[in-house]
Amino acid sequence: MNRLNQLFNIKKDNLLSIYYTAGYPGLNTTLDIAEALEKTGVDFLEIGFPYSDPVADGPTIQHSSEKALESGMNLNLLFEQLADLRKRVTIPILLMGYVNPMIQYGVERFCKKAAEVGVDGVIVPDLPMYEYETLYADHFQANNLSNIFLVTPQTSEDRIRKIDELSNSFIYLLSSSSITGGNLQVSINIEDYYKRIKAMRLKNPAIIGFGISDNKTFTKACEYAAGAIVGSAFVKLLGTEGYMEKIDGFVKGIRP
């Protein structure tokens, strides 16, 4: 059981997670931001490792990835920075990124290293189920890492069942089929989709992401799921001056 499992055992609703890109806005700000976010009461974090061709991301996260890569962020450096992670931060941590940097680092080595520094799970949007199961699942399990799968309004019920089976912490529910940084528009169709998922009584809780940017969208998401993830809106804040002082207010603005 990792920290994510423990968290979901005790807390069933109103969960808030924040995403940000490692190495942005400064090369060495990764842990300082994590620490500041924990102080505001955020439940868990997703730290992105940057990639040159992030097809699932909108302009905000693309920009942060480009800047981080320009500054020299890479997986070796990230794991060095995270060596002190568990001295400074206690909440669950996920790493999020694309599969090619992981393959070059070595997926087995990546999983071992992640576990060693105290990471609890990984989100890899372009790692499909088949390849995960046949090539990599053993490494994730051996290191007690949760692999998080995405579900969209177009994902079939059969596939959602299969994802639920392969998951052991939570399912990442996309608010719509879109890249990151869009606006959550709760239409009748979306409500139907959330209700459909809820009615499936999955074993894993669902957390809604993509398009969650303020209290209104967060509250709406929490009506249907165990919580929500804020990414682009927070990364935008990191691009402004004096962002460290603004983190507390930003988080409280989303979940008072």
Binding site: E131, L174, S178
Partner: protein, 393 residues
């Protein structure tokens, strides 16, 4: 087919569909339906009719006598440059637009580098009266301005890709992002044998008409179906895959794929993927790509915008790894010289992409009776500026 794709979408270690969940329904729909659709008799009849009446197929197999004399063997040009829109790209665009119609799609998106695939896609969309959006790197739009105008005249909307390096790989990223946001009504016409399965197989099948015709034509010319060598240039690799396709299982036929070395393989300005790349994942498939130690995709360079791509199709990666085809590279200078030679010996101005394949002839040793087929993948009208600047005409 011995070298074909397996049920999971792999060619040996390469292929698959490394896509985010948002693209899964689109790609899965294609996977489930593409073979049924393209093997359907009505589809085949419509495809063949358009290839004949609209594209102008079969494209000639021309016995290049002065080339044959120069290189001491029988050299044949497969004239894809004579196709409507000026290159082999139209074969795939016709196939995919017919497929998109049968899938009930109302909107087409495409990526383009030099603009050849963009023009082919805009053309078939005009033909079918379907909305067309082409993504093109901002830098490519500037260096291939006439093709941008052509696409606009054909009714397509051309959207600049302003992210990353602002070239073909970024145009591909933008097209994928568009598809994520428009999962129901849109079909993405990928222009090469790249992308998630089933694209590499589907595009190869649409381009395989090149080698199908070649076999018949070669029989008429030489009394034999099989040549000693088949040669083509490779960016993503669609003309090469079309040219190789029906020869793959004939192991006596030597297949030669010519990559763009740019200013030299070790110059830091090159697109010679098999020389400089390593295994990884690019645009949805496991393949060989140019990348840093950290797995970041490297921006390639070639004077030819059509070969300026950091990866190759997964089937090429497989043919390379198991040595079924030989992968070589040719520099900008060698290609331009070969292009000029082709003008002066045969009266054909080849695309600079094609000129790479022609340049490889200089480096090969043939026996007198060898038959060699080279795919003349496109015509050089779009490259006149580059030729003129280089040679000072």
């Amino acid at each position: 087919m011995k070298y074909g794709v397996n049920e999971q979408g792999y060619y040996g270690d390469f292929g698959g569909a490394y896509i985010p969940e948002m693209l899964y329904p689109n790609v899965e729909e294609l996977r489930q339906r593409y073979l049924t659709i393209i093997n359907d008799d009505a589809f085949k009849a419509e495809f063949e009719q358009l290839l004949k009446d609209y594209v102008g197929r079969p494209s000639p197999l021309y016995h290049a006598k002065r080339y044959s004399e120069k290189y001491g063997a029988n050299i044949f040009f497969k004239r894809e440059d004579l196709n409507h829109t000026g290159s082999h790209k139209i074969n795939n665009a016709i196939g995919q637009i017919l497929l998109a119609k049968r899938l009930g799609k109302k909107r087409i998106i495409a990526e383009t580098g030099a603009g050849q695939h963009g023009v082919a896609t805009a053309t078939v969309c005009a033909l079918m009266g379907i909305e067309c959006v082409v993504y093109m790197g901002e830098i490519d739009m500037a260096r291939q301005a006439p093709n941008v105008s052509r696409m606009k005249m054909l009714g397509a909307k051309v959207v600049p890709a302003t992210s990353g390096s602002k070239t073909l790989k970024d145009a591909t990223n933008e097209a994928l992002r568009d598809w994520i946001g428009n999962p129901v009504d849109t079909h993405y016409i990928i222009g090469s044998v790249v992308g998630p399965y089933p694209y590499p197989d589907m595009v190869a099948r649409f381009q395989s008409i090149i080698s199908l015709e070649t076999k018949k034509q070669l029989l008429e010319h030489t009394g034999k179906e099989l040549p000693e060598y088949v040669m083509a240039c490779v960016g993503g690799g669609s003309n090469a895959m079309g040219m190789f396709y029906h020869f793959l299982d004939d192991e006596t036929v030597k297949l030669v794929a010519v990559e763009a070395a740019g200013k030299g393989v070790d110059s830091g300005h090159s697109a010679a993927t098999t020389f400089l790349g390593r295994e990884g994942v690019l645009h949805g498939s496991r393949t060989i790509l140019m990348q840093t130690d950290d797995g970041q995709v490297v921006e390639p360079y070639s004077i030819s915008a059509g070969l300026d791509y950091p990866g190759i199709g997964p089937q090429h990666a497989h043919l390379y790894k198991i040595n079924r085809a030989q992968y070589v590279s040719v520099t900008d200078d060698e290609a331009l010289q070969a292009g000029l030679l082709c003008c002066q010996l045969e009266g054909i101005i080849p695309a600079i992409e094609t000129a790479h394949a022609l340049a490889q002839l200089e480096k090969m040793k043939f026996a007198k009776d060898d038959n060699i087929v080279i795919c003349i993948s496109g015509r050089g009208d779009k490259d006149l500026d580059t030729y003129i600047k280089y040679f000072g005409y």
